[in-house]
Amino acid sequence: MTATLHTPPVEAPRQQTDKRVVRRRLGPGHRIRFAFWIGPFLALAVWSAGSASGVIAPAILSAPWDVVIAFEDQWVNHDLLGNVLSSLERSAIGLSLGVVTGAVLAVVSGLSRIGESLIDGPIQIKRSVPTLALIPLFIAWFGIGQEMKIITIALISMVPIYIHTHNGLRSIDGRYAELAETIGINRGEFVRHIVLPGALPGFLLGMRFAVTSSLLGLVVVEQYNAVSGIGHMITLAEQYGQTDVIVVGLVIYGVFGYCADSAVRLTARRVLAWRQTLEG
């Protein structure tokens, strides 16, 4: 029997051919640049076209350019910036309190059976009670000032953080806990190196819900005895029938919510780089 030696061709082909079998992609594929902005800009274009052609009557929804004029008027004559800042302050303080409380409660209830029996039930009950219905009680307890508003927002944003962090934590593979036991680390190190990073995907999903619910909470709480804030501005405009001002408020809400959500998603992409998922 003779062995055949396969030597590579002496002359490399001039034109590199590339013949391959390519399967149809089932995942979402490569990222599109500025993909975040395409949908909102399309919505804006539809709105403009509708208003310009008269399909959308000004009484139904003000035209984008009228909203821009109303925006300018509010900015110059009615301290729109002050309203925006005081709303942002309320939601930021409320959100921070809610996020910290929600995360701490989720870790305690996720890691300890006693903690779970004490914490989980009340939170599920709170979840099924509409926050709107709680406001009269909160007014009785905390007065009608800033305190009541911040506590309401904190409670609204705490729930999604708790639910998703708790769920993320309980979904951590039990084999990692076993590994930690054989390595001989203490409970604090276990929380820091396994529980928190493992629950992070869940926490960040909860964060996406929490940032928007903290903004939504504003509309409700700023209807009560507020002298500033976007919700206050909308309530006033409602009384005077100023549709364009209402739309200014709504647009600001939309922009805030969208920016906050994008910020969380970008953070998530960065801190979850260790995952190999369809997110890409």
């Binding site: 084999r175 990692y176 076993e178 590994l179 930690a180 036991e181 054989t182 390595i183 001989g184 680390i185 190190e189 190196h193 396994i194 990073p197 493992g198 992070l200 780089a273 260790w274 995952r275 190999q276």
Partner: protein
Amino acid sequence: MATDARGLTTEPAVRVRNLHRSFTSDGGVLNGLDLDIAPGEFVALIGRSGTGKSTLLRALAGLDRDVAGYGQIDVPDAVSVVFQDSRLLPWKRILDNVVFGLRGADAGERGRQALAEVGLAGRERAWPYQLSGGEQQRAALARSLVREPQLLLADEPFGALDALTRIRMHVLLRKLCEAHRPAVLLVTHDVDEAIVLADRVILLDAGVVDTDVRVELENRSRSDAGFAALRSLLLDRLGVAADA
């Protein structure tokens, strides 16, 4: 009991006496097992499925707190476990996985050395998912050895690897064990793997030691006559007709 170079009797690294473990009330998995492993001794544990190999290993690792039973277990303080899956934490880079839980200012440097020893120098910053199955298992070995264990417990560590990677891992594990000299208990399904690696092969049946043989071969190649004889003895005890 083993004797050291001066002929003195040394304490075994592992001493198990009358060990019973059972998952159901009607029958035990381990039924009065006795076992000694000398310091630095490499013991391979084989046996059919369900004969208690993993149960014994988990008992030595202290991972069977919910399993009923009794008996006496003495193991050293420094015990490392290598599992069938690498169990690298997916959210930690390779070096951070290797030095996870390690104390001391020089932990990072020791981790780098351990990675270099298993042939993974340069992959310190990689995420676990970027490594192949064999590389992940090498990182897991580095994580175990950087702790300088007196006892290394390995539960079918090469079970999920392909045949070629397995052979490379055998060479690596032998080399590492000769350098670090931990006592080793390796659970495996593979009789050849047991003979290639171990100083002593223990065959478990019905929850007790059925066969306990010392591997004293000059040449650990499969073509060696002594290898074949030992292999057919063990296969015979396992109830498999040896083809050699």
